[in-house]
């Protein structure tokens, strides 16, 4: 049980980081489905930088920088040029898939070395607590950062002027514009911040969960982060719950896979996704998205 809880939290961490970033982005009215490719870019950049320097910390910075770069790409087309956000997001995903695959082959010729990883950092004393000790206090810095980030994002949205303006932009860009808030600037910055977090979330996969980079290794986690935002009803607390739920489903999947030898393993791989879909269908119905989500803002067309 302890091991299952520990694995749940550990597996939830990258989802949580990515989903909190996406939450910030979506509350500003932008859907960034490019988050999948952004995570993948972060995973690769983090891995490559950590391998090159021998320092996972440098890898982390590189992952965030790569996330920013992909975010600038997305925001330039989706926010500044106001192209369809879904189309731009898909393009970002496919470009990232190709670029990271190409980079991995060019650098490592199919034989990548192992990256230095971030070690677990148990909190003395608390880590020995029964049941929750290992899950909450014997984790890597990523997990602590993810949980801290949830508090920062939650308070940022509800208690800061910037959060209030961000929410106004996401709910009614027109109203925000009329109040003198620069809608596109708010959204551009939100996308950059969210993408940096997605990059870091990707680095968790290569600098903590494993020590290698493989092509397409995010395997839909970015899309799950999108689902986590919806399932979490666009609130920081909800996103924490949803990410932990999905982490638990994944942990359980590994456990079941280890036991049920006769069942083909893809069935287990589908398990967390099926659970998420089911929960979204049942519980997501009443969730309310920001009213201007996914709608590029243009000042009204001229009228009488």
């Amino acid at each position: 049980m302890e091991a299952l809880l520990e694995a749940s939290v550990r597996l939830a961490a990258p989802l949580l980081i990515a989903a909190l970033g996406e939450l910030w982005v979506e509350r500003s009215g932008v859907v960034n489905i490019g988050i999948e490719g952004t995570m993948l870019s972060g995973a690769f950049a983090g891995f490559a930088a950590a391998v090159a320097t021998g320092s996972p910390a440098v890898g982390l910075v590189a992952a965030a920088a790569a996330g920013c770069g992909v975010g600038i790409l997305f925001a330039t087309f989706a926010v500044v040029r106001k192209l369809d956000q879904i189309v731009v997001g898909m393009a970002v995903n496919l470009i990232a898939l190709g670029a990271t695959g190409l980079g991995a082959r060019a650098l490592y010729a199919g034989n990548p070395p192992a990256a230095p990883t971030l070690a677990a950092l148990p909190v003395p004393g608390l880590a020995e607590l029964p049941l929750l000790g290992p899950a909450l206090f014997a984790q890597t810095p990523f997990v602590y950062a993810a949980l801290g980030l949830a508090v920062v994002v939650g308070l940022g949205l509800s208690r800061t002027g910037a959060g209030l303006r961000l929410r106004a932009v996401g709910e009614s860009a027109r109203a925000a514009d009329a109040e003198g808030i620069a809608v596109d600037r708010v959204r551009f910055r939100a996308v950059i911040a969210g993408s940096a977090l997605a990059g870091v979330a990707g680095a968790v996969l290569t600098l903590s969960h494993s020590d290698v980079f493989t092509e397409g290794m995010t395997a839909g986690r970015g899309f799950i982060a999108l689902a986590v935002v919806i399932f979490g009803r666009w609130s920081a607390g909800g996103v924490v719950g949803a990410a932990l739920f999905f982490g638990a489903a994944t942990a359980l999947q590994f456990r079941l896979q280890a036991r049920g030898a006769e069942i083909p393993y893809p069935v287990f791989l589908m398990f967390p996704y099926l659970v998420t879909l089911t929960v979204l269908a049942v519980a997501g119905g009443r969730a309310r998205a920001p009213a201007d989500l996914g709608r590029p803002y243009r000042r009204e067309a001229p009228a009488g």
């Binding site: 509800s158 208690r159 800061t160 002027g161 910037a162 959060g163 209030l164 303006r165 929410r167 106004a168 709910e171 009614s172 027109r174 109203a175 925000a176 514009d177 009329a178 109040e179 003198g180 808030i181 620069a182 309310r288 920001p290 009213a291 000042r299 067309a301 001229p302 009228a303 009488g304």
Partner: protein, 512 residues
């Protein structure tokens, strides 16, 4: 509150020679002058398309004029750097026609989010105290802790005025503020505006309702086809003269000849109709009504009392839980095609949502209603585009729709012209019953007059019209009989009731 020591400005805003064209050589504004004094309610009167909204968008920094100059509080404005934020900083507050508050946020949050003085942190309690002080200072009553989407229209408007004042607005611009208000709410608004004027604030009041301009304005500027045709003291002109200045022609009063009672079967009869509502107040409760051929039955009511539900039942898109709908004496299943086949036409109150498809052309909209079965335009599933375009062009010419171009998208038409097309389409095929919902909402005087004339023409030729409207004047002018829809039930309106009596019924205050 510290007082400014300098002499108060004589003019809150002066615009000189302002021109704007979105298409070369077709100016929307053509050398417009406008002078608004401090401590004045200044009405800006004009038909739809006259350029009122464009002029105001320039004044709030949303659009840059091609030519002309602006000064605010007697100081010139650098138009190259005039953004919405700058306009707010210079004391301009806009109260939009479609509310520009964030519906999902509380009033307090709405007051706070655009506040330039807000620091890093948002303190809900401090923001609430500031909102309270503001509301008390200007005597505007608003439920501060409720979400804007839960407020009635009048209250939303007060919240928006409050927000503008909180930003230090010296000049408030109200864009057709009464179009969404009940008569009583409008009265309250006028009282608030007079209070603001007496406190030295200036108000620009955009309207096309002559009676309101007479009621509240000190001065009037009239726009027609992008030009300011007159600017005069409101006391100098009466409604009829203002109408002439606005339209460039005289508008004769409506004539509604007496009706000879019909002996035929009722055109529309509704018995014991119940239907679920969008809210508890708008659930339909035991609706009974009878509409004879050659009759206009007016149903007045305040938005949210079941009008939309009744409209939707009669359009066939809301399933009643109980009751019958009979057209021409026959019970009809309340589904869209069955109702239409029985001769019931529906002029939607949601013109852009459920009535017309704005991205479709005139021709496409014209044939949309009959797209299942109209042999004139469809043969074995194939669309006869030439026939559709011919029919749409003929209708556009007959009804004076500009442009009479079957390939023009509806979005390129003014509201008045779009509504003309909707009216023409519904009357095509000579329906025995026309359900018209807020048929002139948002229309200018000329287009509204066109719609009213068409409804009266239907009546003359023996058609029946069910007029569901929140515009009391419209219902009074057109209807043979009036009934009120209050909290989802019909309430009798005695013949000869005046505005005040009907207003009391609508508010559920009628003496039992």
């Amino acid at each position: 509150m510290p007082q400014a020591t300098s002499r108060p400005a004589a003019y809150a805003a002066r615009l000189h020679g302002v021109s704007k064209a979105f298409v070369p050589r077709r100016p929307v504004l053509d050398g417009v002058d406008l002078a608004v004094r401090a401590g004045e309610i200044h009405a800006l009167l004009g038909e739809n398309g006259a350029g009122k909204s464009t002029l105001m968008k320039i004044l709030v920094g949303l659009l840059r004029p091609d030519a002309g100059s602006i000064s605010l509080a007697d100081a010139p404005v650098d138009l190259d750097r005039f953004t919405p934020a700058e306009a707010v900083r210079r004391g301009i507050g806009m109260v939009h026609q479609v509310s520009a508050l964030v519906p999902a946020m509380t009033v307090v949050e709405n007051l706070a989010f655009g506040d330039a003085r807000a620091g890093l942190w948002f303190h809900p309690r401090r923001a609430r105290r500031a909102a309270e002080r503001l509301a008390a200072r200007f005597q505007l009553e608003v439920s501060l802790d409720r979400r804007v989407e839960d407020l009635a229209m009048g209250e939303r408007q007060r919240a928006e005025i409050l927000r503008a004042l909180g930003r230090g607005a010296r000049l408030l611009i109200l864009d057709e503020p009464t179009s969404v208000l009940t008569p009583r709410e409008a009265e309250a608004l006028f009282a608030s505006l007079r209070g603001l004027r007496d406190a030295g604030r200036a108000v620009i009041f955009i309207s096309h309702k002559l009676s309101e301009v007479e009621a509240v304005a000190d001065r009037v500027t009239i726009l027609r086809q992008g030009k300011a045709t007159a600017s005069l003291s409101a006391r100098e002109a009466d409604a009829r003269e203002l109408g002439r200045l606005m339209l460039g022609r005289d508008v004769p009063p409506l004539e509604r000849p007496a009706r000879t009672p019909s002996v035929a079967a009722p055109a529309l009869e509704i018995r014991g109709l119940c239907a679920p509502g969008l809210s508890e107040a708008s659930r339909l409760r035991e609706i009974d009504l009878r509409l004879d051929p050659g009759e206009i039955l007016g149903i007045v009511g305040i938005d949210g009392n079941g009008q939309r539900e009744l409209e939707e039942v009669l359009a066939g898109v809301r399933r009643p839980t109980r009751g019958d709908v009979c057209v021409g004496g026959r019970r009809i299943a309340p589904r869209p095609r069955a109702l239409r086949a029985a001769g019931l036409a529906h002029l939607s109150g949601d013109r852009d949502g459920a009535g017309l498809i704005s991205a479709f052309t005139l021709a496409e909209n014209w044939i949309l209603k009959g797209s299942h079965d109209d042999r004139r335009f469809f043969r074995r599933g194939w669309l006869d585009r030439a026939a559709a375009r011919r029919a749409a062009r003929a209708a556009a010419e007959r009804f004076g729709i500009v442009p009479a171009d079957p390939d023009a998208p509806i979005a390129s038409l003014s509201g008045g012209n779009a509504q003309k097309l909707a009216v023409a389409r519904e009357l095509d095929g000579d329906p025995s019953v026309l359900v018209a919902v807020n048929p002139t909402r948002g229309l200018d005087v000329g287009s509204a007059r066109f719609v009213h004339d068409e409804l009266l023409a239907r009546r003359r030729s023996g058609g029946a019209v069910l007029l569901i409207s929140t515009d009391l004047d419209e219902v009074l002018a057109l209807s043979d009989r009036i009934t009120a829809l209050v909290r989802g039930a019909l309430a009798a309106v005695p013949p000869g009731s005046d505005r005040a009596a009907i207003g009391a019924i609508l508010l559920g205050e009628a003496a039992a």
